[in-house]
């Protein structure tokens, strides 16, 4: 019982008390533990001190433009889909100071910035969210210019993934091949098993750090039946996806249809409010704001989340490049699903469904793709682009 370090890929069983022990072990190692809890009418990601903080017995009912909390028949801790905001807000915070300076006589003194790099442990990261974190790793640390603060936060990051036991109404991770099972990028992965009176977790070891931590947690050997039960949970979730997205030739489809009439249809509904980009776990765009104080003694540059839906985003001398809403929606969707492949080698969409749920008017990216596909120009006959 404990002490034995399992190999990466090994599986074991843990009880509810084991989950409490896991949380305590993470906290005692100095992690700031973020996980699911009830807040503001939703299951949000926030600081967790023990299993009592988890949303036991709650689920979320998600549809296009609608999210409601509901009671479950059981006491599952992870019996919901995904929260309103992703882990992005911890790894890539909405507001971050880049540099500051102070006037000293006729000189400008650049002051050091303390990079905030809390040692985060995340509890309850889903397959789609792991993929999203991997995508942002590529964006922020995979190129020639590395985001130092992001990299530092990721290096100390401990991830407890959860294989989904519940599909949300707007989920389509199966279409994007990112879930519902966590496929790497985690330290530990849990599958919650509730059957009869038992409430246990199948734990899969994902890293040496995970193996080391889990060695101190009460556990038992996983049987063939336990492993089969966990696989059945994931298989059932995969069958219950709320949405599907046909990715066949999607790069050519979207890049080849910049003047499709559907862009006008969606623009008539689109609020250009930017909610979809804010909740998207892979959208990474930012703006910088320069500020100075009243006395002109100090100045600072602050980086903030930005969105391709704002007019300021594409504002250059003379005006915004993408002044029409159709151009802004097209930019977002075409970048996410098509140009992202050119830029980073794979799709920027992970199928979490947040952009569908949290759009105040319920615009559905899967429905938009289907509508363009239904009446598309044939791939290979490029048409002239336009705003």
């Amino acid at each position: 019982m404990g002490g034995h370090v399992l190999a990466i890929g090994a599986k074991a069983m843990m009880t509810r008390d084991g989950l409490q022990a896991l949380i305590e072990a993470l906290l005692s190692r100095g992690y700031r533990l973020i996980g699911p809890r009830l807040g503001e009418g939703a299951i949000v990601y926030d600081d967790i001190g023990g299993i009592a903080d988890l949303p036991a017995g709650w689920t979320d009912r998600q549809e296009a433009g609608s999210y409601r909390l509901e009671r479950r028949a059981d006491a599952a801790f992870f019996g919901y889909a995904v929260g309103p905001q992703s882990w992005k807000r911890f790894l890539h915070p909405p507001v971050e100071r880049l540099w500051q300076a102070r006037r000293e006589g006729d000189e400008l003194a650049i002051l050091p910035i303390e990079i905030e790099t809390p040692k985060f442990a995340f509890l309850g990261v889903r397959g789609c969210e792991l993929r999203a974190i991997q995508i942002q790793d590529r964006v922020f640390t995979g190129g020639s210019q590395v985001d130092v603060a992001y990299g530092a936060r990721r290096r100390g990051n401990f991830i407890v993934a959860v294989n989904c036991g519940t599909a949300g109404g707007t989920c389509f991770c199966v279409s994007m091949a990112s879930g519902p099972k966590a496929k790497g990028g985690f330290d530990l992965a849990l599958t919650e098993l509730i059957e009869g009176g038992a409430h246990e977790f199948l734990v899969e070891i994902g890293s040496a750090t995970g193996a080391d931590l889990f060695a101190g947690i009460p556990q038992r050997t996983a049987s063939g039946d336990d492993i089969a039960a966990a696989e059945a949970v994931v298989a059932r979730t995969a069958r219950e996806m709320g949405r599907t997205l046909d990715n066949t030739g999607i790069k050519e489809l979207l890049q080849g249809n910049p003047n499709h009439p559907r862009w006008d249809t969606v623009a008539s509904r689109c609020l250009t409010c930017a909610n979809c980009t804010m909740v998207c776990p892979t959208c990474f765009c930012t703006t910088v704001e320069d500020g100075s104080d009243l006395a002109g003694a100090t100045a600072a540059r602050v980086r903030k989340w930005d969105s391709c839906f704002t007019l300021d985003f594409s504002f250059v001398h003379g005006g915004p490049v993408r002044s029409e809403p159709r151009a802004r929606y097209r930019q977002w969707m075409t970048h996410k699903l098509a140009n992202w492949i050119d830029q980073f080698g794979k799709s920027g969409c992970v199928g979490c469904g947040r952009c569908i749920t949290w759009c105040p008017v319920g615009i559905d990216i899967t429905e938009e793709v289907a509508a363009i596909r239904a009446n598309a120009r044939t791939a290979g006959t490029p048409e002239k682009g336009g705003a």
Binding site: G39, E40, G41, A42, V44, G65, S66, Y67, R68, P84, Q85, R89, P94, V95, S268, R269, C270, L271, T272, C273, A274, N275, M278, V279, T287, E289, D290, G291, S292, D293, L294, A295, G296, K304, W305, S307, T310, L311, D312, S323, P325, T357, W358, C359, P360, V361
Partner: protein, 259 residues
């Protein structure tokens, strides 16, 4: 070397409730810092010691509702190097622009025993309808942090860092769960100019648009969604007709709804 002359600041009131001027007085520590870097040359709400122009920065509160004020704003403009409007009245005409949708003589007849001494205009209009304006601050009232930012920016000769995007972005930055999606509460956030820090949704209320329209809002699409959430046509007309009633596209959208 003689110390540089401090820029001179003036604060003016037109048709308004004084709340935006109070936001300046409410700046606490910052107002001491402000008094060190500018000469507060004329601010009748704060001090009876008023000195004559010209002024480097004029902050103008209130809308133009009388022939006298229509003349007075021109004098203010002539004496001011930079003119910044503060708040929904000066920037958009204010709540008093509801008169623009009715006959002002009916109001006069309802309120006063005689109209003999009343000289008023048929409409309430923003300052920009009368004179060129260098910068417009939104809000009813304005946000004091934005006010300090605008003054700091003008003193430094830089552009104020005041985005014209939706309130939704502020909700997401602060981590507020969307009241419209998670509670079905009608909210004007998706069409409203950011700047307040998304106060109302953080108290689980819908935004009521006191900062006025953001850049190119889709007021029609949001109105459709409000109907689905149970708002009546009258509700929609009224919500687009508050402190920014005279501003497009809130004005036109309000005219498309009603009884």
């Amino acid at each position: 070397m003689a110390p540089a002359r401090r820029p001179r600041l003036a604060v003016w009131k037109f048709a308004s409730c004084d709340g935006c001027q109070l936001s300046l007085l409410d700046c606490e520590d910052d107002i001491l810092a402000l008094a060190e870097v500018v000469e507060i040359a004329s601010f009748p709400e704060a001090s009876s010691a008023m000195s004559k122009g010209p002024y480097d920065i004029s902050l103008v509160e209130g809308s133009v509702t009388t022939p006298h004020d229509a003349m007075r704003i021109k004098k203010v403009r002539r004496q001011s190097r930079h003119l910044v409007t503060i708040g929904a009245c000066a920037t958009a005409g204010g709540i008093q622009a509801l008169r623009n949708f009715a006959d002002v003589d009916d109001f006069i007849a309802a309120v006063y025993a005689t109209s003999r001494y009343i000289k008023t205009l048929a409409t309430s209009t923003p300052i920009s309808a009368h004179v060129p304006v260098d910068y417009e601050l939104h809000g009813c009232p304005i946000d004091k942090t934005q006010l300090i930012e605008v003054i700091s920016a003008f003193l430094a000769g830089r552009k104020p860092a005041i985005p014209n995007q939706s309130v939704c972005i502020e909700c997401k930055q602060r981590g507020t769960v969307c009241v419209m999606v998670a509670r079905g509460t009608p909210c004007l956030g998706p069409v409203t100019h950011a700047g307040c820090g998304a106060i109302c949704p953080s108290f689980r209320r819908g935004c009521y648009g006191c900062f006025g329209p953001m850049a190119r809002p889709n007021t029609t699409a949001l109105a459709r969604e409000w109907r689905l959430l149970g708002a009546s046509e009258t509700d929609i007309q009224r919500v687009y007709r508050t402190f920014n009633a005279a501003t497009e596209p809130f004005k036109t959208e309000s005219e498309a709804h009603g009884d």
